[in-house]
């Protein structure tokens, strides 16, 4: 009887461990944080910055934003952002005058470089702002891009 009870308990704990391990493995795709609705649906730059926690960003020369000065077609504007700021964990991109200024917010893990290339729409001539998060602080850089035809 006692032997049976022991075996039972042993099997239970093994089963428990298996469930725990599977539980740990499962969320590979589910790790993603919930979509930041308040930031992405904000219609003003101030609200987009506030809701994505980057209002207090300081100007940094260590954040490199590569975009053309003039873009013919506002539907496809290429943006390249590289952060030289140590321990950069994420980069967010804003088109300041777009109806939805926050374009993207991307975080880097497991060896990904603090670098991003992205093609965005621009409604009109506007500054493009890149913000990096590093060591609990936020840094930004911005550049104006002139648009010939609107992409929205």
């Amino acid at each position: 009887m006692n032997e049976l009870r022991r075996t039972f308990l042993k099997r239970c704990s093994t089963a428990g461990a298996v469930v725990w391990v599977v539980g740990m493995l499962k969320p590979i795709w589910a790790l993603a944080a919930e979509w930041n609705k308040a930031a992405f649906e904000a219609s003003s730059l101030a609200d987009a910055l506030k809701n994505s926690g980057t209002s207090a960003a300081v100007d940094s020369k260590e954040l490199l934003l590569k975009v053309a000065d003039h873009a013919e077609n506002g539907a496809v504007v290429q943006i390249e952002v590289t952060s030289k700021i140590p321990a950069t964990t994420s980069i967010a991109i804003y088109v300041e005058k777009n109806p939805r200024p926050l374009v993207a917010d991307m975080s880097f893990q497991n060896g990904a470089e603090p670098y991003i290339f992205l093609v965005t729409k621009m409604a009109e001539t506007s500054r493009i702002r890149a913000v990096a998060r590093a060591g609990g602080k936020t840094y930004f850089t911005a550049k104006e891009v002139h648009i010939t035809s609107s992409g929205c």
């Binding site: 088109v95 109806p99 939805r100 374009v103 290339f117 992205l118 093609v119 965005t120 729409k121 929205c152």
Partner: protein, 104 residues
């Protein structure tokens, strides 16, 4: 919609350069149909996750400003030829797009 994301991953010095393109309308939800005057409902990719050999390397959230048929790129340090790069995107309707390739 399997393999709706086309990926190219090439070794470039000490990192893998990954470029991806996915087929998606990226409708903002702010445009009106000129014929009917009705707002065209939003339909855009909101979340993109990229993995290298199963480990998340890029965890991205997008808004409707990202261009139609999104093109994006990122770099991963320490990647080797043959490593598996996979990307998964989910839009505001819950539809999923995926793509996979090996580092060349």
């Amino acid at each position: 919609m399997a393999e709706a994301i086309k990926i190219r991953a090439t070794l470039n010095g000490e990192f893998a350069e990954v470029k991806a393109r996915m087929a998606h309308i990226m409708e903002t939800g702010l445009r009106k149909d000129p014929a009917s005057g009705q707002v065209i409902p939003a339909h855009f990719v909101r979340q993109v996750t990229a993995t290298l050999n199963g480990n998340v390397v890029l965890d991205a959230q997008w808004g409707p400003s990202v261009s139609k048929d999104p093109v994006f790129g990122f770099r991963v340090k320490g990647a080797k030829a043959g490593d598996k790069v996979a990307i998964k995107a989910v839009d505001n309707k819950g539809e999923t797009l995926t793509g996979e390739t090996s580092v060349a």
